[in-house]
Each structure stands twice: as structure tokens, then as C-alpha cells.
């Protein structure tokens, strides 16, 4: 009987403990209420420390608050791929130079790109204050902006951050549907044409300015060398196979939607562009494996010397010119140019891909986060980053400010790449910044992959357009 009572007591105790835990969990999970901006971080200190004239000049340059009011604050910045040179250099600088100026530490996240979107969505939508700052690629922005604070007013108050100093495509991608600015372009990439200078020189080829010239060059390279002329990537991976397709579509005067949000990429211009895109596979300009390649694998074909031409983001240039990484002859002979245009149809138009950076609506350190944004988006910091060629792990050519892209010193140490990138960005455009975009992108990338693996082009484009229209209809874009 004593034993029974003990068991009973133990059981009841367990029930009480678990019930209490449940109650605590329930009470500790209030409805998500955005944190009010307090005007001060957790480490705010009232007393201003003594400031040297040099420090004062530095603070004024970046429009930072004097007296280190947020000293001791630790910001968490959710971003992918922190070890990539374009991010690594910034992360390093943050905890030296920015820390010295403000006393704010910044912890950079390092989430793999493949799972980054899920991490962002989970953090943003769970009203979590774990991360103070988010970086996001433009295509994901529309879904995240409800969870970020608008910063248009803040930006207006800072002299050294002028929106006119950013490519228009980048600024558009940083805005929400309401026209408000929710982020500033942290990293941005023009879509460029890369080629093997030595191969072109040996074969007497000119750098192509039109798709037709590129195809002529491809024929010569195919006949005269054992390389694939191109390295295309038709595989399914976060919409990467749409970049090149869009360059063709847009340069042919086509578009994804008309002014009423009806898909039109299956019209004559769309079909012509798609047929051309898929024909490169059929003509064996690119490896048969291209049908399953993602962007990295496509780039690797070029780096390993198996392909003579490639189109991709400019940040890849530092990989392609890393002599320890690639096949012999690649690093010294990687040339770049703007994307070819459609013959007789004007300027090339490509996708300008941008990573805006914004502040989490639920952050407890919004003001400290804004201090960091003012510093990291300054032209001066951008210039320092792209000038630093001290080590491969920090060597990057990526900048977003037009003034930095056109800076002669910057161009001198980056082989003129920033200036060419800037020219591309003048004509670059962004994808539709609408919440439905990711679903639409899923339709497009699967359809393109289908066509690359043999599906008929016109019927597939028609079906893709019908599927996209259904998504838009569900999103309420059409009058009933």
C-alpha cells in the first residue's frame, strides 16, 4: 500500500510538473506584437565618452551617434554564406572598425544558401527577436517585408546614403508593394558574359555583342577545340535556370507579364527566345549534363577549362581568376563583357540581382541596427572592401553604389570589372516583387527544365502561362 501511495504521489507530481511547464510555455508565448522602436539599444549609455577629433570625424562621416550609446549591444545578422569573400570581408570589418566606433558587436549568421529562405521565413514569421537584421535576395522580399520596418524616412535623414547612387533595379527590389523602402542594397550582381580570352585570340574571334555572334563563335570553338563553347545550366535550383532565359526574353522585346499581370512569355517573342535558349543544348554548344546543372556546376565547367563561354554573376569573377582553384590557363584568361543583345533589337537587358538588408520588426535593437546599416552601406566601406586584395578569402569585386562602381581606383585594382558591371546595371531590371513570385519562379524553372529535357516548347510555355495565370488569379490580380 505504501508503495502504491508513492507511485501515486510520483505520478501526481509528474502531472503537476508537466501541467506547470505547459502553463509556463503558454504564458510565455504571447501573440506576436511588433516591438516598438525604443530609440535605444540594450546597452545604451547615457554618458557620452570623451571623443577624439579623429573619432568625431569618423562618426560624422558615417552619421553615427557620438558617445557610443549602444555600446555592449550585440546584433545578430541573418545572412547566408558568410564565408564567401563578398560577405566575409564585411563581417571581418564589422567587428573591428565598426566596433571601435560604436561598441556594437555584430554576429553574422552563416546559413547555407539552399536552406536560407526557410530560415528567413521561419525567423521572420515567428515574431522572433533572435535576429535584428535580415539580408534577403530580391525574389524573397515581397513575402518578408511585412516583417521588416520601413526605412524610407530613416534613409532620407542620412546624407551619405543617397538612393540615386544605387542602380534603379536595386532600389526597386528593396521597396515593398506600398512603395516604402524596407532595405538597402547590401550586395548586388549584374549578370555578365565571361569568356576565355586565350581561346578567342587563338581562333581570331571577337567578343560577341549579339546572340548571333555568340552562336557563330560557338560554332568555331566547337569545330576547332575539344571544349564546349558554352556552359549553360538548365537544372532546377532556386530559379537559376531562368536568368539566362530572361536575358534572351527581355533582349528580344519579350516580358513575363503585360500591364494587367497576364503572363505573356508564351507569345512570339517568348517562344523565339526559348527556342534559342534550348537550341544551344541541341546544337551541343553546352555539355549534355547542363540539363541537370545548377549555376555553380555550370560555373565549374568554365573554371575547370571545359567550356569557353559562361554567363553568370560578377561575384564569380574572383573564383574564376583564382589560380589555385581552376584549370591551367583559366585564371589568367578570363575575360568579361556585357551580355550579348538580340540582333537588331537594341541594348541587352539582364536581371540585376540584389541582396537588400533590412531590420527585423521584432528586433529589440532597431536603433543599433540602423547605426550598423548606416555604416555598412556607406560608399567608403564599400570602396575599402573592393580595394582589399590582401587574401583570396576577402578578395571581392562586389559593390552596389554607382560612385564606387565608377571609381577609377576601384576599377584599377579590379581590372575594370566594376565599370562594366555598372554599365550593365544601367539597363538591368528586376523580377516582379510580388508575394506570388516564388511560386511563379517554381513554374518557370520546372518548365524550362522540362523543355531542356525534351518537352515541346510552345505547348510547355502555354501550360506554364496557364499555371502562372492560375496563381495570379488566386492572388486576386484580376477583376472577376
Amino acid at each position: 500500500m505504501v508503495f502504491d501511495k508513492r507511485i501515486l504521489r510520483f505520478g501526481l507530481l509528474m502531472v503537476l510538473i508537466i501541467a506547470a511547464l505547459l502553463a509556463i510555455i503558454g504564458c510565455a508565448a504571447p501573440a506576436p506584437v511588433p516591438q516598438e522602436s525604443t530609440g535605444a539599444g540594450t546597452g545604451e549609455q547615457e554618458a557620452a565618452a570623451e571623443i577624439s577629433p579623429e573619432m568625431q570625424a569618423e562618426l560624422e562621416k558615417f552619421d553615427l551617434q557620438p558617445g557610443k550609446p549602444y555600446e555592449g549591444t550585440e546584433l545578430n545578422f541573418l545572412i547566408c554564406c558568410a564565408t564567401a569573400a563578398q560577405f566575409h570581408a564585411l563581417a571581418e570589418k564589422s567587428n573591428t572598425e565598426f566596433y571601435e566606433l560604436t561598441g556594437i558587436k555584430v554576429q553574422w549568421g552563416d546559413v547555407p544558401y539552399g536552406s536560407f529562405q526557410e530560415k528567413l521565413v521561419t525567423e521572420a514569421t515567428s515574431a522572433s527577436d533572435t535576429y535584428d537584421l535580415f539580408a534577403f535576395t530580391d525574389a524573397w522580399g515581397a513575402g518578408l517585408k511585412p516583417y521588416m520596418i520601413p526605412i524610407s524616412d530613416k534613409v532620407e535623414g542620412v546624407d551619405h546614403i543617397a538612393l540615386s547612387d544605387y542602380p534603379e533595379a536595386y532600389v526597386q527590389a528593396s521597396r515593398g508593394l506600398d512603395g516604402e523602402l524596407y532595405g538597402l542594397p547590401l550586395r548586388g550582381h549584374p549578370f555578365m558574359f565571361f569568356y576565355r580570352e586565350d581561346v578567342f585570340e587563338d581562333l581570331g574571334l571577337e567578343v560577341p555583342t549579339t546572340w548571333a555572334e555568340m552562336e557563330e563563335a560557338a560554332e568555331v570553338i566547337k569545330a576547332e577545340t575539344d571544349m564546349y563553347p558554352l556552359s549553360v545550366y538548365y537544372g532546377i535550383n532556386a530559379g537559376q535556370n531562368t536568368f539566362w532565359w530572361e536575358a534572351l526574353l527581355w533582349s528580344n522585346g519579350g516580358d513575363l507579364f503585360d500591364e494587367n499581370w497576364k503572363p505573356i512569355f508564351n507569345n512570339e517573342a517568348g517562344v523565339e527566345a526559348t527556342e534559342r535558349y534550348i537550341s544551344w543544348l541541341e546544337k551541343e554548344y553546352t555539355s549534355p549534363g547542363s540539363v541537370s546543372f545548377n549555376e555553380q556546376e555550370g560555373n565549374e565547367e568554365f573554371i575547370q577549362g571545359r567550356a569557353a563561354m559562361f554567363m553568370g554573376w560578377w561575384w564569380m569573377y574572383s573564383r574564376m581568376t583564382d589560380c589555385e582553384r581552376g584549370a591551367e590557363g583559366v585564371c589568367e584568361n578570363t575575360g568579361f563583357a556585357t551580355a550579348p543583345s538580340w540582333e537588331g533589337k537594341g541594348q541587352p537587358r539582364t536581371y540585376g540581382h540584389v541582396w537588400p538588408m533590412g531590420i527585423n520588426e521584432f528586433s529589440n535593437n532597431k536603433e543599433a541596427a540602423w547605426e550598423y546599416m548606416k555604416w555598412i552601406h556607406s560608399a567608403e566601406v564599400q570602396k575599402e572592401i573592393v580595394m582589399d586584395k590582401s587574401a583570396p578569402e576577402v578578395s571581392t569585386n562586389v559593390a552596389t553604389r554607382i560612385s564606387v562602381l565608377n571609381d577609377p581606383e576601384v576599377n584599377e585594382v579590379n581590372n575594370g570589372l566594376p565599370k562594366v558591371g555598372g554599365e550593365i546595371l544601367e539597363e538591368a531590371r528586376t523580377n516582379p516583387i510580388i508575394p506570388e513570385w516564388l511560386e511563379i519562379l517554381g513554374i518557370l524553372e520546372v518548365g524550362i527544365n522540362d523543355m531542356a529535357t525534351g518537352a515541346e516548347i510552345q505547348p510547355t510555355l502555354d501550360q506554364m502561362a496557364a499555371d502562372v495565370e492560375e496563381i495570379m488569379e488566386r492572388g486576386g490580380y484580376y477583376d472577376k
Binding site: I18, P32, E297, T453
Partner: protein
């Protein structure tokens, strides 16, 4: 006192844990499946829409594609896993030092993370530098032009192979255990009666292994139905939608397109299918027959 209440008291903590970590999410997911909720529009669930999300699923050709892919994948992977596992068990059942060593190492493929398996197989099948692709080209020169992950059939096949690579050794270990429990006297008697090796296998081994085969088949079926990791890392659901399994389709809707209402409805449809197999599995385990 002991007989009447003790068992309930002892069970209470476990039941509470099950309620919190299983029943609550199940109920919550079901209610979400009856609501409109796009996370990119609102942080909180929207209006109740009745069975709209389920109706949408049944009219969604991509959903039906994922059902068909899941069934095909399940059949290929279950049949291959069980047959290869059984063959391995028959080869390795005789005691020897080599067999002991092999049996010890058999568990390793199962211990490899499924996501890593997917990445590894993707690299190994790469037409430019993949080791398996090179080996296949050497053995079957007529297939040298085949890009394994670019063809719908082969992509499904290799996805299944990546799964079988991990599961067949584990199943072999299960079968080795089951074979060891069969009395040698039965085989001796059959041999005395003049049975050859094939007849021994067909009329003695297989019937005696039947309960184990049923249990393993059901278990593997449940795991195959919820195939996800290798789809993400090996094929991305492609080519086209050829390897887009139902679980991956649910993930796309929920975490890529952040349509939580629809994703919850799809998840529930998967749960129903899994529950049916789980019931059969439990009945088989408890010896009630299926």
C-alpha cells in the same frame, strides 16, 4: 489500488508528452488545413475556408503528379531494398570471419545522413566528373550519352538506388537475425526429403521469413512514402517534376511558397496514407495479420 489505478498513473506522463508533441500539432495542422493562410500576407491564420484547400489539392495536377511519383518511388525502392537485403542476408548468414566483418560494416550506409547521401550521389552521377557515371560508361558504353539525373525514369531510378544503398544493408541485418532464428532441424529434414537449394529457399526459408518480410516491407513503405531529403539535395524534384515526391511538394507549398493552409491540407493527406500503412504495420507486429 495497485491493479486499478497504478497503470494509469504511470502512463500519465508519457500520455501528456504525446499529447503535447503529437496530438496538439496534429489538431493544429488540421485546423490550419481548413483556413486560408499565406504567411507572406499575414502573420496569423486567416478565415476558415472549409474544405477548400482539400478541394484545391484534388484539382491540382501537380499534387497528383507528386502522388504518382511517390507511389512509383515507393514501389521501386521497397522492392529493391527487400530483394537486395534478402540476397545479402542469404550470402552473409553463414558464420565466417569475413562475414562477421562485412556484417559489422553493413550499418554504415544507413548511418549516413540522407541529405549527405543525396549530395554524394549527385556528385557521383555527374556526367563530367562523377565516378559512377564514369564506371557506367566503361561497363555500358552504349549508355555513355545518358545524363542520369536528366531523364525522368533514370532520375527516379537513381533516387531509389540512393535510398536502397542505405536501407538494403539494414534490412539484410534484420533478415540475418530472422534467418538465425529458424531451427536448422527444419532445413535438415527438408534435405533428407531430397529438397535442393532452390526448393529449400522457396518452400522453407521464404514461408518462415514471411512475417519478417511483411514487417520490413511495411516499415520501408512508410519511410519511402515520406521521402524528402535526397529529393532536395540530389534532384531538386527534377527533371521537370519527375522526382517531386508528395513530402517535397508539401515542403514547397509550406516553406518555399509559404502557403500554410494549403500545405497543411496536403500534409494531412500524406498523414492519412501513412496512418493506413502504420495500422497494417502495428497489426503485423502484434501478429494479428494484415
Amino acid at each position: 489500488m495497485r491493479g486499478k489505478y497504478t497503470k494509469f498513473v504511470l502512463l500519465t506522463p508519457a500520455l501528456l508528452v504525446v499529447l503535447v508533441i503529437t496530438a496538439y500539432p496534429l489538431i493544429n495542422t488540421f485546423t490550419l488545413s481548413l483556413r486560408e493562410w499565406r504567411l507572406d500576407r499575414s502573420p496569423t491564420p486567416g478565415d476558415f475556408v472549409g474544405l477548400d484547400n482539400y478541394v484545391r489539392a484534388f484539382g491540382d495536377r501537380f499534387f497528383w503528379n507528386s502522388v504518382q511519383v511517390t507511389i512509383t518511388f515507393t514501389i521501386i525502392s521497397v522492392v529493391m531494398s527487400v530483394v537486395i537485403g534478402l540476397a545479402m542476408a542469404l550470402i552473409l548468414q553463414k558464420p565466417s570471419k569475413l562475414n562477421t566483418l562485412v556484417k559489422t560494416t553493413l550499418i554504415f550506409p544507413f548511418a549516413v545522413s540522407p541529405a549527405l547521401k543525396g549530395f554524394s550521389w549527385r556528385f557521383m552521377l555527374n556526367p563530367s566528373w562523377g565516378i559512377y557515371d564514369t564506371m557506367m560508361d566503361a561497363v555500358f558504353p552504349f549508355a555513355s550519352d545518358v545524363v542520369w539525373l536528366a531523364h525522368p525514369f533514370w532520375a527516379q531510378f537513381w533516387l531509389a538506388v540512393s535510398e536502397v544503398w542505405g536501407w538494403a544493408p539494414l534490412i539484410a541485418l534484420m533478415f540475418i537475425g530472422a534467418l538465425g532464428s529458424i531451427s536448422p532441424d527444419i532445413f535438415e529434414s527438408a534435405k533428407v526429403e531430397g529438397a535442393n537449394n532452390y526448393q529449400l529457399f522457396r518452400h522453407v526459408t521464404l514461408p518462415l521469413l514471411r512475417p519478417v518480410i511483411v514487417i520490413i516491407t511495411l516499415l520501408k513503405t512508410i519511410f519511402s512514402l515520406k521521402m524528402f531529403d535526397q529529393v532536395v539535395t540530389m534532384t531538386g524534384g527534377g527533371p521537370g517534376r519527375a522526382t517531386q515526391t508528395l513530402n517535397y511538394f508539401v515542403y514547397l507549398q509550406g516553406f518555399r511558397y509559404i502557403d500554410m493552409g494549403y500545405a497543411s491540407a496536403l500534409a494531412y493527406l500524406l498523414i492519412v496514407a501513412l496512418t493506413i500503412f502504420a495500422i497494417f504495420y502495428v497489426r503485423a507486429l502484434s501478429g494479428e495479420g494484415i
